[in-house]
């Protein structure tokens, strides 16, 4: 924040500073609440540091790093294959399907995966025949990794594709003119764009895997598979030991900062392209051999992502869908989900846009000097909120607010704020490549024509950012639809969402209803994504 005061007052700095201030208040406030409550028993924080902690740190890091590598490397290939073939039937549908896993509660996705790969799964007989003994299922590290790849590969693919699409068409044309084969165009055109995005996308996946909880416990096979997140949850929910929860959260945060700093060495800052592209469209002609390879990659990825979704869908069809669709509680949960997710997504986009604009302005201004702390915070720093468990934020604010306000009324605000903040790192990554590319192209033009403020937003930024903004909005909404972490103590009465209803049915033996609601949630997400895609494309 200090840096903001030193720099000349550019109005674009204000947005980022406000957004960062808000994040600081949200996280800081929660910590203050928990520490104040935990101060009655200060020894508990130190008691958290024992050999058990070391063991779970080791496991957390190992599974998260492996999951990240296994998600990111294939995602690079899939995104590249998609970008080399900008038009083929079903391409849009694939992209929108890739957002669906994000909106599914972890247990629904786990059951979908197990319907294929579990001991009683669809593939168990052939796999058993292959290994010569009854198929043991995927319990253990393998199950955790498969589940994490299922969630993160499609998401990373979409983010990489967003980065690839900022490559100016001129570069592709030039590549064709120079007679580039697949390898050369990868090396000189695609890889620089991918590499620029790599650390931040890998960091995002890493953070999601670090905080994984239900998947790790359910598929991990036993308490050997325990992550820090489990320990935080236990400290806060079962033992109610706030100082321990804060200590563990800080450990999780510190580890993530270190790993992400290491990951950032994988990346490179490529200069933006300041000229407007003159080539009207892509001109690459993948050779038949490359097309076959790309086809195989895409087919494998689609099978991997779609078959568990299909299993979820088929399980859902066995439910009494007609009855479910006519139930009042399903209607009200759908409405609640939609308006909470809509508000959270809107908040998330505001935050992300403010941060992206400020970061770009700061980067342009400093030219070749190293980035200031302020700039770093608007970039990677803001993303660290992902490793602060929502339950920590919820409990901290509950403690702060319990005496001053009506907590029941605050539950929806809490859900919107936390979901919006948690979706921000995703939205940020979807918006930033397009924003930075557009800003590099337009900044000088606008400055010389004197187009600023509202006019610039409306005439210059909106047309070029419309598509990524809408995509980010739908993505954020999908993420918020699936979430239910924050309200444990606040009470659920005012925020009974679809995932909540789903888990409630599951918790009262109604597994068929739960499966039906899982299908419903998946379809709702798909509809949202298709809608945003349509709105983003029209009038282009």
């Amino acid at each position: 924040m200090k840096a903001a005061r030193r720099t000349p007052a550019d109005p674009r700095f204000l947005g980022g500073a406000l957004a960062l201030g808000l994040l600081t208040v949200l996280i800081g406030g929660a910590f203050v609440g928990l520490i104040a409550e935990g101060a009655r028993n200060p020894g508990a924080a130190w008691a958290a540091f024992d050999s058990y902690l070391l063991r779970i740190i080791r496991f957390t890091l190992m599974q998260a790093l492996l999951s990240t590598a296994l998600s990111i490397l294939p995602a690079l290939l899939v995104a590249r294959a998609l970008s080399r073939h900008p038009t083929f039937p079903g391409r849009h549908l694939i992209l929108q399907l890739f957002a669906v896993p994000l909106a599914l509660p972890a247990i629904v996705a786990a059951l979908g995966l197990l319907a294929l790969l579990g001991r009683a799964g669809f593939l168990a007989p052939p796999l058993g025949a292959l290994t010569g003994e009854p198929w043991p299922g995927i319990y253990g590290l393998s199950g955790i990794l498969i589940a994490h790849v299922f969630f993160n590969l499609p998401m990373a693919t979409r983010l990489f594709l967003e980065a690839l699409e900022t490559v100016p068409t001129d570069q592709h044309r030039l590549g064709v003119q120079l007679g580039f084969k697949a390898w050369n165009s990868f090396r000189f055109i695609e890889w620089p764009a991918l590499r620029k995005a790599l650390p931040s996308i890998a960091g995002l996946v890493f953070m999601l895997c670090v905080t994984s909880f239900t998947l790790v416990l359910t598929l991990g096979g036993g308490p050997r598979a325990t992550t820090l997140e489990v320990a935080i949850y236990q400290a806060l929910r079962f033992d109610f030991d706030p100082s321990r929860a804060v200590a563990l959260t800080l450990v999780q945060l510190a580890l993530t900062v270190i790993i992400l700093a290491l990951l950032s060495r994988l990346g490179a800052d490529a200069a933006g392209e300041a000229n407007l592209s003159v080539a009207p469209r892509r001109f690459d002609f993948p050779s038949p051999r490359e097309s076959i390879a790309n086809g195989a990659i895409l087919l494998a990825a689609v099978l991997f992502v779609v078959s568990p979704l299909a299993a979820t869908g088929i399980a859902g069809l066995s439910a009494d869908l007609q009855r479910l669709a006519s139930e009042g509680s399903v209607h009200s949960a759908t409405l609640t989900s939609l308006w909470l997710a809509f508000s959270a997504a809107a908040f998330s986009i505001l935050l992300s846009f403010a941060l992206v604009r400020t970061r770009h302005a700061l980067q342009t201004q400093r030219r070749d000097a190293p980035p200031s702390l302020f700039e770093r915070l608007t970039d990677r720093g803001a993303g660290y909120v992902l490793v602060v468990p929502p339950i920590v934020i919820g409990a901290g604010w509950f403690i702060l607010l319990r005496t001053v306000a009506d907590l029941f009324a605050l539950a929806p605000i809490m859900v919107i704020t936390v979901n919006g903040v948690m979706a921000m790192p995703f939205a940020l990554r979807l918006i930033r490549p397009a924003h930075d590319a557009a800003a590099t192209r337009h900044d000088r033009l606008c400055a010389s024509l004197g187009i600023t403020g509202w006019n610039r937003l409306r005439l210059i930024d909106w047309p070029s950012l419309r598509r990524p903004l809408l995509a980010a909005f739908a993505f954020a909404m999908a993420l918020s639809l699936g979430d239910l972490g924050v309200i444990a103590l606040f009470g659920s009465d005012a925020v009974k969402t679809l995932p909540y209803l789903l888990l409630e049915r599951m918790g009262s033996y109604r597994t068929a209803d739960a499966a039906g609601l899982g299908l419903f949630l998946a379809l709702l997400t798909l509809a949202l994504m298709l809608l945003s895609d349509r709105l983003g494309r029209s009038r282009q």
């Binding site: 247990i107 059951l111 001991r119 359910t218 036993g222 308490p223 009324a409 444990a488 009262s508």
Partner: protein
């Protein structure tokens, strides 16, 4: 969208009491959310008690029994709760120590809790026994004792819950502790190979079980009644264990704030009445803590009736829970 938003906001405002409601006396009951769900006993109990007291019952629901206690402890003397409903006997020692609860003053007469009831702060509203529920299509001969479960065929798996995050998970830990005592660690070392996976809560475990991932799951003796009554199938059965079954009793308590609200005392007495108890069996799928007006569905007669009910005093659990969980962790992480 705007219309929807407005409607939701207005409904929300109404539900939160921002807009003036009728000037009835209000009773606030904190509970967990499966109690107040439309499938739970909440709506039935609310209607029955409101007819009796001519008052307005307001349920506030949080995630589960543990969250319930945490919430009340955090709110302290400022809590809005008159009655807290949904703690279990593993939590009563801790709840009592908070000094936020007042004696209920209801006689234990008529309570059907095995082993009798003598707690004058907390009153039971239902109970159940933990049991291994099995799939008759996958398992011909279920284990007949905890010993047979522990030492049986490693290829016949069971899904259990984590005692660090779930009540049934803690239940199994206490069950094995009460049967094996100091040898519990060795028993877990043997059982470990039969455990397919350890889930964070009951729902995940039961979901895996009904998907056919494992032939056994840790649940309750009364779970099969749900499948018989609602799904019309006898496929899932509970195994009777010769050492006895561990007992779980769910209780309600009146807060010190509630002690000043006459409705709270009336509600505590109502818990024992058929108006409340009739709702318990087929919504909670647990056994009623007192007489119901009609006999239970005959499916309940076919449930396992434990020869012995096992319990560990709440105070001892509060004192040793951490050590026991550490012991479990050490064995299971090997």
């Amino acid at each position: 969208m705007r219309n929807t938003l407005l409607t939701t906001l207005l409904t929300g405002a109404l539900a939160l009491g921002v807009l003036p409601a009728s000037a009835q006396e209000v009773l606030t009951v904190y509970t967990y959310d499966s109690f107040t769900s439309e499938w739970g006993p909440g709506p039935i109990v609310e209607k029955a008690f409101e007819a009796e007291c001519k008052c307005d019952v307001k349920f506030v629901s949080v995630a589960d029994g543990v969250a319930l206690l945490n919430r009340v402890k955090l709110e302290g003397a400022n809590t809005k709760a008159d009655v807290v409903l949904g703690l279990d006997t593993n939590l009563t020692a801790e709840a009592r120590a908070s000094e936020l609860f007042a004696p209920h003053g209801i006689s234990a007469e008529g309570l059907t809790i095995p082993g009798g009831w003598s707690d004058d702060t907390f009153l039971p509203y239902d109970y159940g026994y933990f049991a291994v529920v099995y799939d008759t299509e996958k398992l011909r001969t279920p284990p007949a004792s905890l010993k047979e479960l522990v030492e049986g065929d490693k290829n016949q798996k069971i899904v259990i819950q984590d005692p660090r995050t779930s009540t049934p998970g803690l239940g199994l830990l206490l069950w094995i502790k009460s049967v094996y005592g100091d040898d519990a660690g060795d028993a877990w070392a043997k059982l470990k190979d039969r455990v397919l996976t350890v889930t964070p809560g009951w729902s995940e475990a039961y979901g895996l079980f009904t998907k056919g991932e494992a032939p056994m799951v840790l649940s309750y003796t009364t779970s099969p009644a749900y499948h018989i009554i609602s799904d019309k199938t006898e496929r899932y059965q509970a195994a009777a264990f010769s050492e006895g079954h561990y007992l779980q009793v769910e209780v309600a308590g009146m807060t010190t704030k509630g002690a000043r609200n006459p409705l709270a005392k009336q509600f505590m007495a109502f818990i024992k009445a058929p108006g409340f108890q009739d709702a318990v069996p087929e919504t909670q799928w647990m056994l009623p803590a007192a007489e119901t007006s009609k006999p239970l569905n005959e499916a309940f007669d076919r449930m396992v009736k434990p020869t012995k009910s096992l319990t560990i005093p709440s105070e001892e659990i509060a004192e040793k829970r951490k050590a026991w969980i550490d012991e479990w962790l050490a064995v299971m992480s090997r």
